[in-house]
Amino acid sequence: MSKRERVYLDYAATTPVRQEVLDVMLDIYKNEYGNPSSFYQEGQKAAKIVSNARDTVAACIGAQASEVYFTSCGTESDNWAIKGAAASLASKGKHIITSKIEHHAVIHPCEALAKQGYEITWIEVDQDGLVNPDDVRSAIRPDTILVTIMMANNEIGTVQPIGEIGKICKEKKVLFHTDAVQAAGALKIDVKDLNVDLMSFSGHKIYAPKGVGALYIRKGVRIANLLDGGAQEKNKRGGTENVAAIAGFAKAFELATTELEENSAKLSELRDSLMNQILAEIPYARINGHKSKRLPNNVNISFEFIEGESILLMLDFSGYSCSSGSACTSGSLDPSHVLLAIGLPHEIAHGSLRVTFGKDSRQEHVDNLVKDLKEIVKKLRDMSPLYSDFLKNGRN
Protein backbone atom coordinates (compact mmCIF):
# COMPACT_ATOMS: atom_id res chain seq x y z
CA MET A 1 0.00 0.00 0.00
CA SER A 2 1.62 3.20 -1.11
CA LYS A 3 1.04 6.53 0.56
CA ARG A 4 -1.05 8.70 -1.71
CA GLU A 5 -3.36 11.70 -1.55
CA ARG A 6 -6.00 11.22 1.11
CA VAL A 7 -9.45 10.06 0.08
CA TYR A 8 -12.29 11.10 2.36
CA LEU A 9 -15.01 8.46 2.41
CA ASP A 10 -16.87 9.35 5.58
CA TYR A 11 -19.41 11.92 4.42
CA ALA A 12 -21.98 10.48 6.81
CA ALA A 13 -19.76 11.50 9.73
CA THR A 14 -19.37 15.03 8.50
CA THR A 15 -18.90 16.99 5.29
CA PRO A 16 -16.60 19.85 4.41
CA VAL A 17 -18.23 23.26 4.13
CA ARG A 18 -18.81 23.83 0.43
CA GLN A 19 -17.45 26.96 -1.17
CA GLU A 20 -20.83 28.55 -1.92
CA VAL A 21 -21.74 28.16 1.74
CA LEU A 22 -18.42 29.47 2.97
CA ASP A 23 -18.86 32.53 0.75
CA VAL A 24 -22.24 33.28 2.32
CA MET A 25 -20.82 32.84 5.81
CA LEU A 26 -17.71 34.88 5.19
CA ASP A 27 -19.73 37.79 3.90
CA ILE A 28 -21.81 37.70 7.07
CA TYR A 29 -18.82 37.33 9.38
CA LYS A 30 -17.23 40.32 7.73
CA ASN A 31 -20.18 42.59 7.09
CA GLU A 32 -23.23 41.57 9.05
CA TYR A 33 -22.35 41.17 12.65
CA GLY A 34 -25.52 42.64 14.10
CA ASN A 35 -27.59 40.85 16.71
CA PRO A 36 -30.93 39.97 15.08
CA SER A 37 -32.71 41.08 18.24
CA SER A 38 -31.29 44.57 17.94
CA PHE A 39 -33.41 47.45 16.92
CA TYR A 40 -31.07 49.36 14.64
CA GLN A 41 -30.06 48.74 11.04
CA GLU A 42 -27.28 46.20 11.65
CA GLY A 43 -29.64 44.16 13.81
CA GLN A 44 -32.50 44.36 11.35
CA LYS A 45 -30.27 43.25 8.51
CA ALA A 46 -29.18 40.25 10.54
CA ALA A 47 -32.81 39.50 11.38
CA LYS A 48 -33.66 39.61 7.69
CA ILE A 49 -30.87 37.14 6.91
CA VAL A 50 -32.26 34.72 9.47
CA SER A 51 -35.79 35.15 8.21
CA ASN A 52 -34.72 34.55 4.60
CA ALA A 53 -32.87 31.44 5.72
CA ARG A 54 -36.03 30.24 7.44
CA ASP A 55 -38.00 30.70 4.22
CA THR A 56 -35.38 28.73 2.33
CA VAL A 57 -35.27 25.80 4.72
CA ALA A 58 -39.07 25.73 4.88
CA ALA A 59 -39.22 25.55 1.09
CA CYS A 60 -36.80 22.61 1.08
CA ILE A 61 -39.10 20.51 3.24
CA GLY A 62 -42.54 21.72 2.19
CA ALA A 63 -43.16 23.55 5.45
CA GLN A 64 -44.20 27.06 6.35
CA ALA A 65 -41.42 29.33 7.53
CA SER A 66 -43.13 29.67 10.90
CA GLU A 67 -42.70 25.93 11.42
CA VAL A 68 -38.90 26.00 11.16
CA TYR A 69 -36.77 26.59 14.27
CA PHE A 70 -33.02 26.87 14.15
CA THR A 71 -30.92 24.96 16.66
CA SER A 72 -27.23 24.30 17.29
CA CYS A 73 -27.11 20.76 15.88
CA GLY A 74 -28.99 17.59 15.11
CA THR A 75 -28.51 16.42 18.67
CA GLU A 76 -30.19 19.54 20.04
CA SER A 77 -33.08 19.10 17.61
CA ASP A 78 -33.55 15.48 18.70
CA ASN A 79 -33.31 16.33 22.39
CA TRP A 80 -35.72 19.22 22.02
CA ALA A 81 -38.27 17.19 20.08
CA ILE A 82 -38.19 14.23 22.44
CA LYS A 83 -37.76 15.89 25.82
CA GLY A 84 -39.99 18.79 24.80
CA ALA A 85 -42.80 16.49 23.72
CA ALA A 86 -42.36 14.36 26.83
CA ALA A 87 -42.55 17.38 29.14
CA SER A 88 -45.54 18.96 27.47
CA LEU A 89 -47.56 15.75 27.16
CA ALA A 90 -46.70 14.12 30.49
CA SER A 91 -50.26 14.61 31.69
CA LYS A 92 -51.56 12.61 28.72
CA GLY A 93 -49.15 9.75 29.21
CA LYS A 94 -45.57 8.69 29.57
CA HIS A 95 -45.13 6.10 26.85
CA ILE A 96 -42.72 6.66 23.96
CA ILE A 97 -42.07 4.41 21.00
CA THR A 98 -38.74 4.35 19.18
CA SER A 99 -36.56 1.83 17.37
CA LYS A 100 -33.47 -0.07 18.32
CA ILE A 101 -31.38 1.51 15.60
CA GLU A 102 -31.75 5.21 16.34
CA HIS A 103 -28.80 7.54 16.66
CA HIS A 104 -27.53 8.13 20.18
CA ALA A 105 -29.04 11.60 19.96
CA VAL A 106 -32.42 9.84 20.12
CA ILE A 107 -31.53 6.78 22.21
CA HIS A 108 -29.91 8.70 25.03
CA PRO A 109 -32.71 11.25 25.51
CA CYS A 110 -35.15 8.31 25.59
CA GLU A 111 -33.01 6.58 28.19
CA ALA A 112 -32.83 9.79 30.21
CA LEU A 113 -36.62 9.97 30.13
CA ALA A 114 -36.86 6.32 31.14
CA LYS A 115 -34.96 7.22 34.31
CA GLN A 116 -37.57 9.89 34.97
CA GLY A 117 -40.43 7.42 34.83
CA TYR A 118 -41.28 7.39 31.15
CA GLU A 119 -41.70 4.02 29.50
CA ILE A 120 -39.91 3.36 26.24
CA THR A 121 -40.85 0.69 23.71
CA TRP A 122 -37.86 -0.21 21.56
CA ILE A 123 -39.18 -1.51 18.23
CA GLU A 124 -37.08 -4.28 16.69
CA VAL A 125 -35.92 -4.08 13.09
CA ASP A 126 -35.59 -6.90 10.57
CA GLN A 127 -32.28 -8.17 9.20
CA ASP A 128 -32.15 -5.26 6.75
CA GLY A 129 -32.73 -2.72 9.47
CA LEU A 130 -36.34 -1.99 8.54
CA VAL A 131 -39.00 -1.05 11.05
CA ASN A 132 -42.32 -2.71 10.32
CA PRO A 133 -45.07 -0.05 10.51
CA ASP A 134 -47.42 -2.66 11.89
CA ASP A 135 -45.12 -3.06 14.87
CA VAL A 136 -45.46 0.64 15.51
CA ARG A 137 -49.24 0.40 15.19
CA SER A 138 -49.50 -2.39 17.69
CA ALA A 139 -47.11 -0.70 20.12
CA ILE A 140 -49.30 2.40 20.34
CA ARG A 141 -51.28 2.55 23.57
CA PRO A 142 -53.68 5.10 25.02
CA ASP A 143 -50.79 6.63 26.98
CA THR A 144 -48.41 6.82 24.02
CA ILE A 145 -47.33 10.41 23.56
CA LEU A 146 -44.59 10.17 20.96
CA VAL A 147 -43.26 7.94 18.22
CA THR A 148 -39.72 8.71 17.10
CA ILE A 149 -38.27 6.71 14.22
CA MET A 150 -35.39 7.95 12.12
CA MET A 151 -35.85 8.56 8.42
CA ALA A 152 -32.55 7.01 7.34
CA ASN A 153 -29.97 5.20 9.40
CA ASN A 154 -26.51 6.71 9.70
CA GLU A 155 -24.67 3.40 9.88
CA ILE A 156 -26.35 1.00 7.50
CA GLY A 157 -28.22 3.55 5.38
CA THR A 158 -31.59 1.83 5.59
CA VAL A 159 -34.48 4.16 4.76
CA GLN A 160 -37.59 3.67 6.86
CA PRO A 161 -41.20 3.80 5.63
CA ILE A 162 -41.71 7.15 7.35
CA GLY A 163 -44.80 8.06 5.36
CA GLU A 164 -46.59 4.89 6.47
CA ILE A 165 -45.57 5.34 10.08
CA GLY A 166 -46.66 8.98 9.86
CA LYS A 167 -50.08 7.93 8.61
CA ILE A 168 -50.50 5.50 11.50
CA CYS A 169 -49.48 8.14 14.04
CA LYS A 170 -51.84 10.65 12.51
CA GLU A 171 -54.71 8.15 12.59
CA LYS A 172 -53.89 7.27 16.21
CA LYS A 173 -53.37 10.94 17.09
CA VAL A 174 -49.86 10.37 18.42
CA LEU A 175 -47.07 12.87 17.85
CA PHE A 176 -44.50 11.66 15.33
CA HIS A 177 -40.87 12.77 15.28
CA THR A 178 -38.29 11.68 12.77
CA ASP A 179 -34.55 12.26 12.79
CA ALA A 180 -33.87 13.28 9.19
CA VAL A 181 -30.23 14.25 9.79
CA GLN A 182 -28.96 11.67 7.31
CA ALA A 183 -31.94 11.91 4.98
CA ALA A 184 -31.65 15.63 4.31
CA GLY A 185 -30.08 16.31 0.96
CA ALA A 186 -30.30 12.62 0.04
CA LEU A 187 -34.03 11.96 -0.03
CA LYS A 188 -36.98 14.11 -1.03
CA ILE A 189 -38.65 15.48 2.05
CA ASP A 190 -42.17 16.83 2.25
CA VAL A 191 -43.39 17.15 5.80
CA LYS A 192 -47.02 17.17 4.67
CA ASP A 193 -46.74 14.00 2.59
CA LEU A 194 -44.82 12.27 5.34
CA ASN A 195 -47.27 13.27 8.06
CA VAL A 196 -44.51 14.12 10.49
CA ASP A 197 -45.01 16.52 13.37
CA LEU A 198 -41.38 17.03 14.30
CA MET A 199 -38.30 16.56 12.16
CA SER A 200 -34.60 17.06 12.99
CA PHE A 201 -31.89 18.37 10.70
CA SER A 202 -28.18 19.07 11.01
CA GLY A 203 -25.99 21.34 8.92
CA HIS A 204 -22.70 19.53 8.84
CA LYS A 205 -24.07 16.51 7.02
CA ILE A 206 -25.05 18.63 4.01
CA TYR A 207 -21.91 20.73 3.46
CA ALA A 208 -22.91 23.44 5.93
CA PRO A 209 -20.80 24.04 9.03
CA LYS A 210 -20.94 22.10 12.25
CA GLY A 211 -22.94 23.69 15.03
CA VAL A 212 -26.19 24.47 13.28
CA GLY A 213 -29.37 22.50 12.82
CA ALA A 214 -33.10 22.88 12.67
CA LEU A 215 -36.25 21.40 14.10
CA TYR A 216 -39.46 21.39 12.14
CA ILE A 217 -42.43 21.76 14.46
CA ARG A 218 -45.79 21.36 12.74
CA LYS A 219 -48.14 24.28 13.26
CA GLY A 220 -50.31 23.60 16.28
CA VAL A 221 -47.87 21.19 17.91
CA ARG A 222 -46.65 22.48 21.26
CA ILE A 223 -43.53 21.14 22.88
CA ALA A 224 -41.75 22.48 25.95
CA ASN A 225 -38.60 24.54 25.46
CA LEU A 226 -35.18 23.02 25.89
CA LEU A 227 -33.28 26.33 25.85
CA ASP A 228 -35.23 28.99 27.73
CA GLY A 229 -33.90 32.49 27.31
CA GLY A 230 -34.43 35.50 25.10
CA ALA A 231 -37.30 36.01 22.68
CA GLN A 232 -35.46 34.38 19.76
CA GLU A 233 -37.23 31.77 17.61
CA LYS A 234 -40.61 33.06 18.76
CA ASN A 235 -39.71 32.53 22.42
CA LYS A 236 -39.16 28.86 21.81
CA ARG A 237 -35.36 28.67 21.61
CA GLY A 238 -33.28 31.28 23.38
CA GLY A 239 -29.74 32.22 22.41
CA THR A 240 -28.44 34.79 19.99
CA GLU A 241 -28.99 33.40 16.50
CA ASN A 242 -25.93 31.92 14.81
CA VAL A 243 -26.59 34.16 11.81
CA ALA A 244 -23.70 33.13 9.57
CA ALA A 245 -24.15 29.41 10.18
CA ILE A 246 -27.92 29.65 9.76
CA ALA A 247 -27.53 31.40 6.42
CA GLY A 248 -24.89 28.84 5.42
CA PHE A 249 -27.17 26.00 6.42
CA ALA A 250 -30.03 27.41 4.33
CA LYS A 251 -27.74 27.86 1.35
CA ALA A 252 -26.47 24.30 1.70
CA PHE A 253 -29.97 22.88 2.05
CA GLU A 254 -31.16 24.80 -0.97
CA LEU A 255 -28.25 23.56 -3.10
CA ALA A 256 -28.68 20.01 -1.85
CA THR A 257 -32.34 20.11 -2.77
CA THR A 258 -31.67 21.45 -6.25
CA GLU A 259 -28.95 18.91 -6.88
CA LEU A 260 -30.67 16.01 -5.17
CA GLU A 261 -31.55 13.87 -8.17
CA GLU A 262 -28.29 14.35 -9.99
CA ASN A 263 -26.30 13.65 -6.85
CA SER A 264 -28.31 10.61 -5.86
CA ALA A 265 -27.78 9.11 -9.29
CA LYS A 266 -24.04 9.68 -9.15
CA LEU A 267 -23.65 8.49 -5.58
CA SER A 268 -25.72 5.37 -5.93
CA GLU A 269 -23.61 4.34 -8.90
CA LEU A 270 -20.46 4.55 -6.76
CA ARG A 271 -22.25 2.78 -3.95
CA ASP A 272 -23.40 -0.10 -6.12
CA SER A 273 -20.03 -0.40 -7.76
CA LEU A 274 -18.29 -0.68 -4.40
CA MET A 275 -20.76 -3.23 -3.06
CA ASN A 276 -20.55 -5.36 -6.18
CA GLN A 277 -16.79 -5.28 -6.42
CA ILE A 278 -16.34 -6.19 -2.78
CA LEU A 279 -18.77 -9.06 -2.98
CA ALA A 280 -17.05 -10.28 -6.12
CA GLU A 281 -13.49 -9.94 -4.95
CA ILE A 282 -13.39 -10.38 -1.19
CA PRO A 283 -14.68 -13.64 0.28
CA TYR A 284 -16.58 -13.84 3.56
CA ALA A 285 -17.93 -10.31 3.27
CA ARG A 286 -21.54 -9.31 3.74
CA ILE A 287 -23.45 -6.14 3.00
CA ASN A 288 -25.40 -4.68 5.92
CA GLY A 289 -28.59 -2.70 5.47
CA HIS A 290 -31.36 -2.92 2.91
CA LYS A 291 -30.45 -3.65 -0.69
CA SER A 292 -32.60 -0.94 -2.27
CA LYS A 293 -34.25 1.08 0.52
CA ARG A 294 -30.93 2.62 1.24
CA LEU A 295 -29.22 6.02 1.27
CA PRO A 296 -27.59 6.60 -2.10
CA ASN A 297 -24.17 7.16 -0.59
CA ASN A 298 -23.95 4.43 2.04
CA VAL A 299 -22.06 1.15 1.97
CA ASN A 300 -21.74 -0.96 5.10
CA ILE A 301 -19.89 -4.27 4.97
CA SER A 302 -18.77 -6.84 7.48
CA PHE A 303 -15.61 -8.81 6.89
CA GLU A 304 -15.54 -12.05 8.80
CA PHE A 305 -12.62 -13.01 11.06
CA ILE A 306 -11.15 -9.53 11.40
CA GLU A 307 -11.78 -6.52 13.54
CA GLY A 308 -13.02 -3.12 12.38
CA GLU A 309 -10.56 -0.80 14.05
CA SER A 310 -7.59 -2.52 12.48
CA ILE A 311 -9.24 -2.28 9.08
CA LEU A 312 -9.79 1.44 9.65
CA LEU A 313 -6.28 1.94 10.87
CA MET A 314 -4.75 0.28 7.84
CA LEU A 315 -7.09 2.17 5.55
CA ASP A 316 -6.14 5.39 7.32
CA PHE A 317 -2.49 4.53 6.81
CA SER A 318 -3.22 4.04 3.11
CA GLY A 319 -4.95 7.40 2.97
CA TYR A 320 -8.63 6.46 3.29
CA SER A 321 -10.94 7.97 5.87
CA CYS A 322 -13.78 5.60 6.61
CA SER A 323 -15.69 4.61 9.67
CA SER A 324 -16.74 1.50 11.48
CA GLY A 325 -20.13 1.99 13.01
CA SER A 326 -21.12 5.50 13.94
CA ALA A 327 -18.42 8.11 14.22
CA CYS A 328 -19.97 9.28 17.43
CA THR A 329 -19.40 6.00 19.16
CA SER A 330 -15.91 5.34 17.96
CA GLY A 331 -14.69 6.26 21.42
CA SER A 332 -16.46 3.15 22.64
CA LEU A 333 -15.36 -0.46 22.55
CA ASP A 334 -18.76 -2.06 22.13
CA PRO A 335 -19.86 -3.12 18.69
CA SER A 336 -22.48 -0.95 17.06
CA HIS A 337 -25.98 -1.29 18.51
CA VAL A 338 -27.32 -1.01 14.97
CA LEU A 339 -25.37 -4.00 13.69
CA LEU A 340 -26.42 -6.04 16.72
CA ALA A 341 -30.03 -5.01 16.13
CA ILE A 342 -30.00 -6.40 12.60
CA GLY A 343 -28.86 -9.69 14.06
CA LEU A 344 -25.10 -9.76 13.41
CA PRO A 345 -23.18 -11.82 15.95
CA HIS A 346 -20.76 -9.75 18.03
CA GLU A 347 -17.62 -10.91 16.29
CA ILE A 348 -18.97 -10.03 12.87
CA ALA A 349 -20.37 -6.72 14.05
CA HIS A 350 -16.87 -5.92 15.26
CA GLY A 351 -15.51 -6.36 11.75
CA SER A 352 -17.67 -3.84 9.94
CA LEU A 353 -16.73 -0.96 7.72
CA ARG A 354 -18.83 2.03 6.65
CA VAL A 355 -17.96 3.87 3.46
CA THR A 356 -20.05 6.93 2.62
CA PHE A 357 -19.59 8.86 -0.57
CA GLY A 358 -19.96 12.56 -1.25
CA LYS A 359 -19.26 15.47 -3.51
CA ASP A 360 -15.62 14.67 -4.23
CA SER A 361 -16.02 10.92 -4.60
CA ARG A 362 -15.09 9.33 -7.92
CA GLN A 363 -15.11 5.87 -9.48
CA GLU A 364 -11.33 5.84 -9.22
CA HIS A 365 -11.64 6.01 -5.43
CA VAL A 366 -13.89 2.99 -5.46
CA ASP A 367 -11.55 1.00 -7.64
CA ASN A 368 -8.47 1.84 -5.59
CA LEU A 369 -10.29 1.23 -2.34
CA VAL A 370 -11.28 -2.27 -3.44
CA LYS A 371 -7.70 -3.03 -4.40
CA ASP A 372 -6.32 -1.81 -1.08
CA LEU A 373 -9.10 -3.39 0.94
CA LYS A 374 -8.35 -6.75 -0.60
CA GLU A 375 -4.78 -6.57 0.61
CA ILE A 376 -5.73 -5.25 4.02
CA VAL A 377 -8.36 -7.89 4.63
CA LYS A 378 -5.92 -10.57 3.56
CA LYS A 379 -3.17 -9.22 5.79
CA LEU A 380 -5.46 -9.06 8.81
CA ARG A 381 -6.92 -12.48 8.17
CA ASP A 382 -3.44 -13.92 7.95
CA MET A 383 -2.94 -12.55 11.45
CA SER A 384 -6.28 -13.73 12.77
CA PRO A 385 -6.60 -16.82 14.93
CA LEU A 386 -10.28 -16.96 13.97
CA TYR A 387 -9.38 -17.25 10.32
CA SER A 388 -6.79 -19.99 10.76
CA ASP A 389 -9.27 -21.79 12.95
CA PHE A 390 -11.88 -21.49 10.21
CA LEU A 391 -9.44 -22.76 7.58
CA LYS A 392 -8.63 -25.75 9.75
CA ASN A 393 -12.00 -26.59 11.17
CA GLY A 394 -14.60 -24.80 9.07
CA ARG A 395 -17.39 -22.92 10.78
CA ASN A 396 -18.18 -24.14 14.22
Binding site: F305, I306, E307, G308, E309, S310, L313, M314, F317, S330, G331, L333, P335, P345, H346, E347, H350, D382, M383, S384, P385, L386, Y387, S388
Partner: protein
Protein backbone atom coordinates in the same frame (compact mmCIF):
# COMPACT_ATOMS: atom_id res chain seq x y z
CA UNK B 1 -7.48 7.54 18.58
CA UNK B 2 -3.94 8.83 18.69
CA UNK B 3 -1.42 5.96 18.53
CA UNK B 4 2.29 6.50 18.99
CA UNK B 5 4.66 5.91 16.07
CA UNK B 6 5.89 2.78 17.79
CA UNK B 7 2.37 1.40 18.04
CA UNK B 8 1.79 2.19 14.38
CA UNK B 9 5.06 0.52 13.44
CA UNK B 10 4.23 -2.66 15.35
CA UNK B 11 0.72 -2.58 13.96
CA UNK B 12 1.68 -2.09 10.33
CA UNK B 13 4.72 -4.37 10.52
CA UNK B 14 3.95 -6.79 13.28
CA UNK B 15 6.82 -9.00 14.40
CA UNK B 16 6.38 -12.71 14.99
CA UNK B 17 3.04 -13.24 13.32
CA UNK B 18 2.27 -16.88 12.78
CA UNK B 19 2.22 -20.24 14.45
CA UNK B 20 4.96 -22.53 15.68
CA UNK B 21 4.74 -26.15 14.59
CA UNK B 22 5.08 -28.41 17.57
CA UNK B 23 5.15 -25.48 19.93
CA UNK B 24 6.32 -26.18 23.46
CA UNK B 25 3.18 -24.46 24.67
CA UNK B 26 0.38 -22.18 23.49
CA UNK B 27 -2.03 -19.85 25.16
CA UNK B 28 -5.24 -18.30 23.86
CA UNK B 29 -7.12 -15.55 25.68
CA UNK B 30 -9.97 -13.17 24.94
CA UNK B 31 -13.05 -13.89 22.90
CA UNK B 32 -14.51 -12.72 19.65
CA UNK B 33 -17.58 -11.29 21.33
CA UNK B 34 -15.47 -8.70 23.10
CA UNK B 35 -13.55 -7.91 19.96
CA UNK B 36 -10.17 -9.42 20.71
CA UNK B 37 -8.49 -12.79 20.82
CA UNK B 38 -4.79 -13.51 21.06
CA UNK B 39 -3.05 -16.81 20.63
CA UNK B 40 0.64 -17.21 21.48
CA UNK B 41 2.87 -20.18 20.61
CA UNK B 42 6.15 -20.57 22.45
CA UNK B 43 9.20 -22.63 21.67
CA UNK B 44 11.02 -23.23 24.93
CA UNK B 45 14.27 -25.01 25.55
CA UNK B 46 16.12 -25.17 28.87
CA UNK B 47 13.61 -22.78 30.31
CA UNK B 48 14.51 -20.19 27.68
CA UNK B 49 12.00 -18.88 25.18
CA UNK B 50 13.68 -19.41 21.85
CA UNK B 51 10.77 -18.30 19.73
CA UNK B 52 7.30 -16.84 20.07
CA UNK B 53 4.60 -16.35 17.45
CA UNK B 54 1.16 -14.88 17.71
CA UNK B 55 -2.12 -14.58 15.94
CA UNK B 56 -4.47 -11.81 17.00
CA UNK B 57 -8.00 -10.78 16.15
CA UNK B 58 -8.42 -7.28 17.48
CA UNK B 59 -7.86 -3.59 17.24
CA UNK B 60 -4.65 -1.77 16.43
CA UNK B 61 -3.33 -1.83 19.96
CA UNK B 62 -4.18 -5.50 20.41
CA UNK B 63 -2.05 -6.31 17.40
CA UNK B 64 0.76 -3.93 18.33
CA UNK B 65 0.95 -5.23 21.90
CA UNK B 66 0.96 -8.80 20.61
CA UNK B 67 3.89 -7.94 18.42
CA UNK B 68 5.77 -6.10 21.16
CA UNK B 69 5.09 -8.68 23.84
CA UNK B 70 6.44 -11.52 21.71
CA UNK B 71 9.52 -9.40 20.89
CA UNK B 72 10.09 -8.77 24.57
CA UNK B 73 9.97 -12.39 25.68
CA UNK B 74 12.08 -13.98 23.00
CA UNK B 75 15.44 -14.84 24.51
CA UNK B 76 14.13 -14.47 28.05
CA UNK B 77 13.84 -17.26 30.56
CA UNK B 78 10.34 -18.42 31.33
CA UNK B 79 10.60 -16.85 34.78
CA UNK B 80 11.59 -13.53 33.31
CA UNK B 81 8.77 -13.72 30.79
CA UNK B 82 6.33 -14.36 33.60
CA UNK B 83 7.27 -11.01 35.05
CA UNK B 84 6.24 -9.20 31.86
CA UNK B 85 3.51 -6.74 32.77
CA UNK B 86 1.02 -5.05 30.49
CA UNK B 87 2.42 -1.73 31.72
CA UNK B 88 5.88 -2.73 30.49
CA UNK B 89 4.52 -3.68 27.07
CA UNK B 90 2.58 -0.43 26.82
CA UNK B 91 5.62 1.57 27.92
CA UNK B 92 7.77 -0.16 25.34
CA UNK B 93 5.27 1.06 22.76
CA UNK B 94 5.57 4.63 24.07
CA UNK B 95 2.19 4.34 25.71
CA UNK B 96 -1.35 3.54 24.67
CA UNK B 97 -4.51 5.68 24.74
CA UNK B 98 -6.16 5.13 28.16
CA UNK B 99 -9.22 3.54 26.57
CA UNK B 100 -6.91 0.95 24.98
CA UNK B 101 -4.90 -0.08 28.04
CA UNK B 102 -6.98 -3.22 28.49
CA UNK B 103 -5.61 -4.53 25.18
CA UNK B 104 -2.13 -4.68 26.63
CA UNK B 105 -3.57 -6.88 29.36
CA UNK B 106 -4.50 -9.33 26.64
CA UNK B 107 -0.86 -9.76 25.65
CA UNK B 108 0.27 -10.24 29.24
CA UNK B 109 -2.48 -12.80 29.74
CA UNK B 110 -1.70 -14.70 26.54
CA UNK B 111 1.97 -15.05 27.48
CA UNK B 112 1.03 -16.20 30.97
CA UNK B 113 -1.50 -18.67 29.58
CA UNK B 114 1.13 -20.20 27.32
CA UNK B 115 3.65 -20.46 30.16
CA UNK B 116 1.03 -21.97 32.38
CA UNK B 117 0.49 -24.66 29.77
CA UNK B 118 4.24 -25.18 29.65
CA UNK B 119 4.38 -25.54 33.45
CA UNK B 120 1.48 -27.96 33.40
CA UNK B 121 2.95 -30.07 30.60
CA UNK B 122 6.26 -30.22 32.41
CA UNK B 123 4.91 -30.76 35.89
CA UNK B 124 6.30 -27.45 37.03
CA UNK B 125 3.07 -25.97 38.34
CA UNK B 126 3.18 -25.93 42.11
CA UNK B 127 1.56 -24.17 45.04
CA UNK B 128 4.28 -21.56 44.99
CA UNK B 129 3.96 -20.37 41.40
CA UNK B 130 0.21 -21.01 40.96
CA UNK B 131 -0.66 -17.53 42.15
CA UNK B 132 1.25 -16.03 39.22
CA UNK B 133 -1.54 -17.23 36.96
CA UNK B 134 -4.44 -15.92 39.00
CA UNK B 135 -4.96 -13.04 36.62
CA UNK B 136 -5.95 -15.49 33.90
CA UNK B 137 -9.26 -15.89 35.68
CA UNK B 138 -9.97 -12.17 35.38
CA UNK B 139 -11.97 -10.82 32.51
CA UNK B 140 -10.08 -7.91 31.03
CA UNK B 141 -13.34 -6.32 29.81
Amino acid sequence: MQYSDKVMDHFMNPRNVGEIENASASGTVGNAKCGDIMKVDLKIENNVILDAKFKTFGCGSAIATSSMATEMIIGKTVDEALRLTNKAVADALDGLPPIKMHCSLLAEQAVKAAIKEYYEKNGLLNDENKALFDMLEEDPH
